[in-house]
């Protein structure tokens, strides 16, 4: 059985990595994710892991080295944030296109400019179409559990896609919470030996040459991408299976989304990450007042769990989608677009509104969430909406 400890999300990531004991870690420091590799490098220095740790000269090289290592048959991991993830952007697509199950711990942080080190989701939303599985976490426990499940999802022979696991910068990365850790043996048994893949070292040993990363022109590129899309589609089947297996073994069950008091709700918000914790408190308060409020937390953004989102929201009358990203399209935030697309085919759909909040780590207080619910109540009473997007907590 696991033990209860107090850990920050960065520490939880590092401890999880130690227990996963990857073959290769290549990483570069960046606030607020630096601690992950800092703690991990101490594990390496103390001989607690077998890992070959490459202290690369950039995030671009971190992902490139992970690609090399993974293509050589290694279980490869890295961690980053914000500008670091942006610098990797080119290599993210190559990692997924080469079908390499690399695992990346990401601490969400706003993108420059202006430079800022605090939380929003603009970094990983920028990477949402890069072919990586994306798992978001509400708290330290989920950060840890998601990392361990991520290994299994990425390496599954029907998926074979890289996976990024997110936690909120500073809010979680530097915040002590209670964490129920699994034992090293439990983690090792759960992740198991990586399923065999074609790889460079195997090819060298067996003297059976393989070429990885060939040039696909008009005659093959499309098929390759279609196969990759199929891997992402297969993840829709695999993710809940692994979430259930994890729950059966360790008591904490995971699906694509978390429904919170949605069953009979008239109004609800859609939210990602740590804000869900604050928002649940608001939902509870509203329920006490007799308001039928609920919340949908998105855990998996890629693949997009369309059916789950549809089922969770179909009976609501008014929905507010909370985006911790500015879409810069003069219309709405990116999560709003995704949720709208999910609901479009419903005959009867809720009225949808969008709230952009918390950019650059702007604090999200109980009152901010209450403001959003008050807006939803007004729309509910009017039976129509007179806005699509509102900004919460900004001076205008």
């Amino acid at each position: 059985m696991g033990i209860k400890v107090a850990k920050t999300a960065n520490e939880a990531f590092a401890e999880g990595m130690r227990q996963i004991n990857p073959d290769v870690v290549a990483a570069y420091p960046i606030t607020p994710a630096t601690e992950i590799v800092q703690i991990f490098s101490q594990f390496v220095a103390d001989g607690l892991v077998k890992t070959e740790f490459i202290q690369v000269e950039s995030e671009h090289s971190a992902m490139s080295a992970c690609i090399g290592a993974s293509a050589a048959g290694a279980r490869a991991m890295t961690g980053t944030s914000s500008q670091g993830l942006a610098f990797m952007w080119e290599m993210l697509y190559i990692a997924s296109g080469l079908r390499l199950p690399i695992i990346m711990a990401v601490v969400n942080r706003a993108l420059s400019s202006p430079i800022n080190i605090h939380c929003d989701h603009s970094d990983t939303f920028g990477a949402r179409d890069s072919g990586w599985i994306q798992i978001y976490s509400e708290n330290v426990q989920e950060t840890y559990d998601n990392l361990i499940q991520g290994v299994r999802i990425a390496e599954h022979p029907e998926v074979k896609l890289p996976c990024m696991i997110m936690t909120d910068g500073f809010i979680l990365s530097h915040c002590l919470e209670t964490l129920e850790m699994l034992t090293d043996q439990e983690v090792q048994e759960f992740i198991g030996v990586p399923p065999e893949r074609e790889n460079l070292i195997k090819s060298a040993i067996e003297n059976k040459p393989i070429t990885i990363g060939a040039l696909d022109l008009q005659d093959y590129y499309f098929e390759r991408k279609r196969q990759q899309a199929e891997g992402m589609k297969n993840a829709l089947k695999i993710i809940p299976e692994i979430g259930k297996e994890f729950g059966d073994k360790f008591g904490r069950y995971y699906g694509f989304v978390e429904d919170y008091k949605l069953e009979d709700a008239d109004i609800g918000i859609v939210v990602i990450g740590s804000t869900a914790g604050t928002a649940k408190e608001v939902v509870d308060n509203l329920r006490k007042k007799g308001v039928k409020a609920g919340l949908l937390k998105i855990r998996i953004l890629r693949p997009l769990p369309v059916e789950d989102i549809k089922n969770s929201l179909k009976n609501l009358k008014v929905v507010g989608v909370m985006d911790r990203v500015e879409g810069m399209n003069a219309f709405c935030g990116p999560l709003y677009s995704e949720i709208t697309a999910c609901l479009y085919d419903l005959d009867k759909k809720p009225l949808l509104t969008n709230f952009v909040y918390g950019l650059g780590g702007r604090d999200v207080k109980i009152e901010d969430i209450e403001t959003i619910f008050n807006e939803l109540i007004t729309v509910l009473e009017k039976g129509k909406k007179d806005f699509t997007l509102k900004y919460i907590g900004v001076r205008e």
Partner: protein, 306 residues
């Protein structure tokens, strides 16, 4: 080192069927480098002529495990592969010796790939990095690079009415790599295959990061007659434009001294990119190059003597 008969008997691991130009220096370089290694090899290759022409799916000219991931990261990619090998070896999962080679053109090495190269050299991965240096971005259509010679015509440093081609000298990458404190660095050309093979053979026996810069004539970009590839690479050495030397643990050693140092114009006259330098009105430019080549040659000789 093996003689030419023995080399010819070795299995070629960069094989025909690729779509490099007739007379391309890079294809010869790939073949010679791999012939010189008698162990299993894993190679990474930067985006560029060689990658594009040798791996058009479903074909491949590589009879070794080979990977291309992007343009600027051949050195970082091979670092990751070598790291995976190290951990597998430590764990007892493999015991076979494998040689790791990173390939890149001059763009992918001198310019966009320089950071990854420098990082890999500083970390000291057990890797041989080979630059096939054709002195410009040939794959995208002959644009100037940090390796393009002064006054050469490229499509982004064209010879015009007021500017006579590229206005800067190429960087001395071998010296820069030597400054990283790596155990082995060298220059080579395909036209002196014995020297090239010797250097590769020597390099892969040394533990740590090794760098070889190989001048690779480009019949399309320089341009030159396709049958002159080998000769033109030798002429670069005979004119002391591309001296052959190696640097072992920081000690410079000349690999070949021309019996009679030829004027730089001898090399220029076989290539279209320098033809403006041979016009009477540009004699001052030609003189400038000759003077600087002479100076650099003397400097190199001094380094090799000390």
């Amino acid at each position: 080192m093996p003689n030419i008969k023995e080399l010819a008997k070795r299995e070629s691991r960069f094989v025909s069927g690729h779509r490099l130009c007739a007379g391309c220096g890079a294809g010869i370089v790939m073949r010679q480098v791999l012939l010189a290694i008698d162990k299993p090899v894993i190679a990474s290759c930067a985006t560029g002529c060689v990658e594009v022409a040798s791996t058009i799916f479903p074909y491949s000219s590589w009879k070794i495990p080979w990977i291309h991931s992007a343009f600027e990261n051949s050195a970082a990619t091979i670092s990751g592969i070598e790291a995976a090998y190290k951990v597998f070896k430590r764990e007892g999962k493999i015991n076979k010796e494998i040689v790791f080679v990173g390939f890149g053109g001059d763009g992918g090495t001198y310019d966009i790939g320089f950071q990854a190269l420098s990082g890999a050299a500083e970390r000291g991965h057990n890797v041989l990095y080979v630059c096939y240096n054709n002195q410009a971005y040939m794959n995208t259509g002959i644009q100037r690079s940090g390796a393009s010679p002064k006054f050469s015509h490229t499509t982004t440093s064209p010879v015009g009415k007021v500017i006579p081609g590229k206005v800067q000298w190429q960087k001395n990458l071998v010296d820069i790599m030597v400054a990283h404190g790596i155990p082995y660095a060298a220059t080579a050309i395909p036209g002196r295959w014995n020297d090239l093979v010797n250097k590769v053979e020597k390099a892969v026996k040394i533990e740590g990061f090794k760098f070889i810069d190989i001048l690779s004539p480009c019949r399309l970009g320089w341009p030159h007659e396709s049958e002159l590839t080998m000769e033109i690479s030798r002429l670069a050495v005979e004119t002391c434009i591309w001296p052959l030397y190696e640097v072992v643990e920081g000690k410079y050693k000349l690999s070949y001294k021309p019996k009679e140092k030829k004027p730089v114009a001898e090399w220029f006259k076989l290539q279209g990119r320098f033809k403006h330098l041979l016009l009477p009105e540009n004699s001052n430019l030609l003189e400038e190059i000759q003077k600087e080549v002479d100076r650099r040659w003397e400097e190199l000789l001094k380094k090799c003597e000390s």
